[in-house]
Amino acid sequence: MTAAESYPEDLRYHAEHDWARIDGDEATLGITWHAVDALGELVHYEPPEEGAAIERDTSYGEVESVKAVSEVIAPLSGEVLQVNPKVVDAPETVNDDPYGEGWLIRIRLRDPAEAEALMDAAGYRALIDEQ
């Protein structure tokens, strides 16, 4: 079942519609409800390799719906610790639960201070309201 619109307060957001849940020097990354809604039901996730380095503001993977493909932009730089196998097997998990079961990767942060450039939930909501 497709999730209802929400932007949890405990996450940090990037303008390319990505979220990060920061926990010490690690973070879990995913895409926002707004991104998922624009794409429709996801049918493919092309993840990065575990151990790969990802760079803030650049693409680390792709998500595809029946009609569209979208690059996934890293909100933070780091090393990929884990790819969510559940989303590889069942990409629609992201539609069902974009901030929970539908996370995309876990990374070790290269520079935790990068998080200061990200938005809080209110800032992100204001951004999508403008668009």
Binding site: G40, H44, E46, E62, V66, K67, V69, V88
Partner: protein, 351 residues
């Protein structure tokens, strides 16, 4: 500024929460509940598509039959009044100006249902070649067209069984319409042609019978699973009917535009062929992607029934046999695919 045309059902689509997109100059629903749910509804029960953007052209007169026999690839001598035929409007090079369905309304009167994006070109093409005694009229604006497709379509509409590619004049809940036993999904079903002003009550009558509203997204995945070509993608004025695998709608024994070129291609064997393929790895092929060895994807998507990437594309004739392994360039990643017999999807019980 681009002004998009709207069908008489625009308000209904918006009220149902459809995601509207531009398509061939029209604003049409891409999806209502979701492409995959709509696709499954059509395969398992039935769905309704507003295809009022499609064009309708009438050809009437003592020489209407003769005119169409000289311009369309299939043989209209094999169609009686009350019958219909899938056919091609071809150019001198054997290329496909449009693919369409011709309905024989009377012995000297035909209705052609054509693609929205080619409607104006088709009408101009026909008018330029019109002869005395054959009157060509674009009547697209007079009609709405609703396709109700799926194994339970007839049951839900309360319509009797009918032979594919026939039609009759009937009513649905008191609304007069032409009931055409045709479609673009590979399922049983009908296409209902009604006056534009009756579109809303007809739509409401269909929806009230429990038919799922469906958008362009599902229409595309449904037709791709059964390998019906999409004009502008898989076939065009630059692709010939034989290479496209549409030789079965070309009556090469009669005289029509481009027939000598089509006979030549048939005789020599096409250099490339339009094949169906299924991806053997993850990923979704898209139109324009390269196929190793000199081929190109012309339609690609995710098959909701097979749960993997599928597509149509032109490949050199040597790679066209079912079972041949292909390699497709998915944005820099080489992915394995295999040529399969058309259609890609067949219901188990009919296999």
């Amino acid at each position: 500024m681009q002004t998009l045309l709207r069908t008489p059902l625009h308000e209904r689509h918006v009220a149902l929460g459809a995601r509207m997109v531009p398509f061939a100059g029209w604003e049409l629903p891409l999806q209502f509940s979701g492409v995959i749910a709509e696709h499954r509804a059509v395969r398992e029960d039935c769905g309704v598509f507003d295809v009022s953007h499609m064009g309708e052209v009438e050809i009437e007169g003592p020489r209407a039959h003769e005119l169409l026999q000289s311009l369309l690839s299939n043989d209209l001598d094999r169609v009686e009044v009350g019958g219909a035929q899938y056919t091609l409007l071809t150019n001198e090079r054997g290329g496909i100006v449009d693919d369409l369905i011709a309905y024989r309304l009377e012995s000297r009167r035909y209705l052609l249902v054509v693609n929205a994006s080619t409607r104006e070109g088709d009408v101009a093409w026909l008018r330029e070649r019109e002869v005395r005694g054959s009157d060509v009229r674009d009547v697209s604006d007079d009609y709405a067209l609703l396709a109700v497709q799926g194994p339970r379509a007839l049951e839900r509409l309360g319509l009797p069984e009918g032979k594919p590619f026939t039609f009759d004049e009937s009513t649905l809940d008191g609304i007069e319409c032409m009931v055409n036993r045709t479609g673009y999904t590979g399922e049983r079903g009908v296409e209902l042609l009604a006056m534009s002003e009756d579109a809303v009550p007809l739509w409401d009558a269909i929806i009230s019978r429990g038919v799922t509203p469906c958008g362009l997204g599902a229409r595309d995945t449904l037709r791709l699973e059964v390998c019906y070509p999409l004009h502008g993608n898989d076939i065009s004025p630059d692709t010939d009917a034989i290479s496209a695998g549409l030789g079965w709608v070309c009556a090469l024994g009669k005289d029509f535009t481009g027939v000598s070129e089509l006979r030549r291609v048939k005789e020599a064997g096409p250099a490339r062929r339009l094949v169906a393929f299924v991806l053997e790895e993850g990923g979704i092929p898209r139109a324009g992607m390269a196929i190793a060895g000199g081929g190109e994807v012309t339609s690609g998507s995710h098959s909701p029934m097979l749960d993997r990437g599928i597509g149509l594309g032109y490949v050199p004739a040597g790679l066209a046999e079912p079972g041949t392994e292909l390699e497709i360039d998915l944005r820099g990643r080489a992915r394995r695919a295999r040529v399969v017999r058309k259609p890609i999807y067949t219901r188990e019980e009919t296999r």
